[in-house]
């Protein structure tokens, strides 16, 4: 699915050179749920931007879904982003003037899907994240958790090969964070490949594999034997609440 080899990224700001990635090689297989952890400034977001084809490596190779991406043109990269990748951002990045439904339709718009099919597919995606009754709301009429669910619906509406989520729970309280993880786990169960950046061990514990970064280097790569089931956490916390 994803194979990067000796990936390096160096930012040049004036006279200062920042080596954000200093030779990273990873292989992520289909239907893996990978959490990426590491201290601030360790290069996690840099990696996500590169995986998401928003930026180009300084050196190294990147094969996504059997396509070597280093030689692709801007237009081809846009097409790949549209077809193969779904983004979920910490700050949601929804268009404020559009309804939830319209926001979810956007990737399909650029994929050239006809309006009728676009609408029905967007509705299905919103159903998958449990927002079928909020489709005509604008982002400012929705809670943070709901907005993030709209963003997830938008990320998965095009059936991407991989969903990239950079601190998707960073702006949410812990319970809402677990709800979001519940959605990710369900998508994972249905076969979606997910790479997720987080600072919180509890969040990372929902994944099937954890990568650790420090100073632009991959310093740890472990399989999670028994991932936490967000569905159970939610069920038991509901029980706790009803117990009180």
């Amino acid at each position: 699915m994803i194979r990067i080899n000796e990936a390096r990224k160096t930012y040049h700001t004036g006279t200062v050179e920042v080596k954000a990635l200093r030779g990273v090689s990873v292989h992520i297989r289909p239907n893996e749920f990978v959490a990426v952890m590491g201290p601030s400034g360790s290069g996690k977001s840099t990696l996500m931007n590169l995986l998401g084809l928003l930026d180009r490596f300084s050196s190294g190779t990147y094969v996504l879904d059997n396509v070597g991406v280093s030689e692709l043109s801007d237009n081809e990269l846009a097409g790949m982003r549209n077809q193969k990748i779904g983004f979920v951002f910490q700050t949601f990045n929804l268009l404020p003037k559009m309804t939830a439904l319209k926001n979810v339709e956007l990737p399909l718009l650029y994929a050239g899907v006809k309006p009728v099919e676009r609408k029905s597919r967007a509705m299905t995606a919103l159903q998958q994240v449990g927002l079928e009754d909020r489709m005509c709301h604008h982002p400012n009429e929705l809670s943070g958790g709901q907005n993030q669910r709209v963003a997830i619906a938008r990320a998965l509406v095009n059936d991407p090969a991989i969903i990239l989520a950079d601190e998707p729970t960073g702006a949410l309280d812990s319970r809402t964070g677990v709800e979001i993880m519940h959605i990710f786990q369900e998508l994972h169960r249905k076969g979606v490949t997910i790479v997720l950046v987080t600072h919180e061990q509890e969040i990372a514990a929902h994944a099937s594999r954890i990568l650790y970064f420090r100073d632009g280097l991959l310093v740890g790569d472990e399989i999670v034997e028994n991932p936490v089931d967000a569905g159970q956490t939610l069920a038991s916390s509901v029980k706790e609440v009803s117990d009180i």
Binding site: R81, M98, L106, L109, N158
Partner: protein, 393 residues
């Protein structure tokens, strides 16, 4: 993403910023309205001018001595019989009349006044489309036997007799009494060609009064508008032959007059439209300015769209279409305003309200072109943004 969807996206973004969109396009609105107004005024004015001139008869032509070549009119240059001969010989000539002008003092039963005296034949009234409100114009017979009769124009009748219908009264022309046989209907004209008070008398009578056979010119009318030039040519050559005076005569027609008037009004309309068009350019700069602001403001939106798969071309087209839609909306409002203005002016000036479909079409085309021209730079700037940089905003 097809064109129609791009237009929908542009309309949505315009709708979500109504006031600003309106203010942005105001320059276009004013520019288009101004151009449409100016063109309508020009065309309305021209149409009115033509209508007026047509009232005097488009078939009319004059044969006179070629002053421009330094010739001057002498006694005997024109004779009454010349007019009759031309009318008989040239099929394109329908009517032909000799004319003698003079200024004399006229006395009625109320007043004395100086007026222009026109000595001519009965054909003159047919050439000029005269109608009488009272009585009749004088006849061939009146002229043949030298009857002392006169036809007054309406204003002169009131001036001399204090009433509109002095038919049968005596009018004294330079001491020579004559009988009023008719009063002409007022020929309405905004142009004021007929402002001088005039009395028409048989040529033979005027020749008696002045004791001279002098004739100033011949006036004729062609069978049709198309025949005017042939009629003029043949009339002049007949005159030259009969008087054995090559290049002594020339002719001029109302048609020529109209053509030059047409040309002048056309050029004036063009010049003023051009000036009004400058305001369109200013409007376009306003649109470009706001589009640039909009690109800066919406950098994040652009980043998001790019992350979701928008190609640079999609972003370019989105902003370009937004600017074109903005300008065309301005064009629509401007056309309506301009049309309203043109109607109002036409009503006030009693002109035919003329807003031709091609004016509207050109206005639309032009506002769309302004949209493209001034939208391309901001749109290009938007499409050149770096996706991550844009997302960081």
């Amino acid at each position: 993403m097809n064109l129609w969807e791009s237009v929908t996206v542009a309309l949505e973004s315009i709708r979500s910023n109504k006031l600003r969109s309106f203010l942005t396009t105001l320059g276009i609105v004013i520019g288009i309205a101004a151009v449409i107004c100016v063109v309508a005024i020009g065309q309305g004015g021209r149409a009115m001018l033509m209508q007026e001139m047509e009232k005097f008869g488009t078939n009319i032509f004059y044969v006179f001595v070629n002053f421009r070549e330094g010739e001057s009119t002498r006694l005997g240059d024109f004779r009454e019989v010349d007019a009759r001969v031309i009318k008989q010989v040239v099929p394109e000539v329908k009517y032909m009349a000799p004319v003698r002008y003079s200024n004399m003092t006229l006395r009625g039963n109320q007043n004395e006044s100086s007026a222009q005296v026109v000595g001519t034949t009965a054909d003159f009234a047919r050439i000029k489309n005269f109608n009488t409100s009272w009585g009749r114009f004088f006849s061939e017979d009146d002229n043949a036997v030298g009857r002392r009769v006169a036809v007054l124009d309406g204003a002169l009748a009131i001036d001399l007799f204090g009433r509109g219908n002095p038919v049968g009264e005596r009018v004294v022309i330079n001491g020579n009494p004559a009988v009023v046989v008719g009063v002409l209907e007022e020929q309405e004209s905004v142009l004021g060609f007929n402002s001088q008070q005039t009395v028409y008398v048989p040529l033979s009578f005027l020749q008696q009064v002045t004791r001279s056979n002098f004739i100033h010119e011949l006036v004729g009318s062609a069978a049709s508008k198309e025949d005017v030039y042939r009629a003029m040519d043949r009339a002049t050559s007949i005159m030259e032959r009969r008087h054995n005076a090559p290049a002594h005569y020339t002719a001029h027609s109302m048609e020529q007059e109209m053509q030059s008037a047409n040309k002048i009004t056309g050029i004036m309309t063009l010049v003023i439209s051009f000036i009004a068009g400058i305001s369109l350019v200013v409007g376009g700069i306003g649109v470009m300015n706001i589009m640039l602001v909009s690109v800066t403001e919406r950098t994040r939106e652009i980043g998001i769209r790019m992350a979701l798969g928008a190609r640079r071309k999609d972003i370019l087209v989105q902003f370009l279409i937004e600017s074109v839609v903005l300008c065309v909306l301005g064009g629509i409002i401007g056309t309506m305003l301009g049309y309203g203005g043109a109607l109002l002016i036409a009503k006030l000036a009693h002109w035919p309200p003329l807003v031709s479909w091609w004016t509207v079409l050109v206005a639309f085309g032009f506002s769309a072109a302004v949209g493209v021209f001034f939208g391309i730079y901001p749109a290009n700037k938007a499409s050149k943004l770096d996706p991550i940089e844009a997302l960081r905003r």
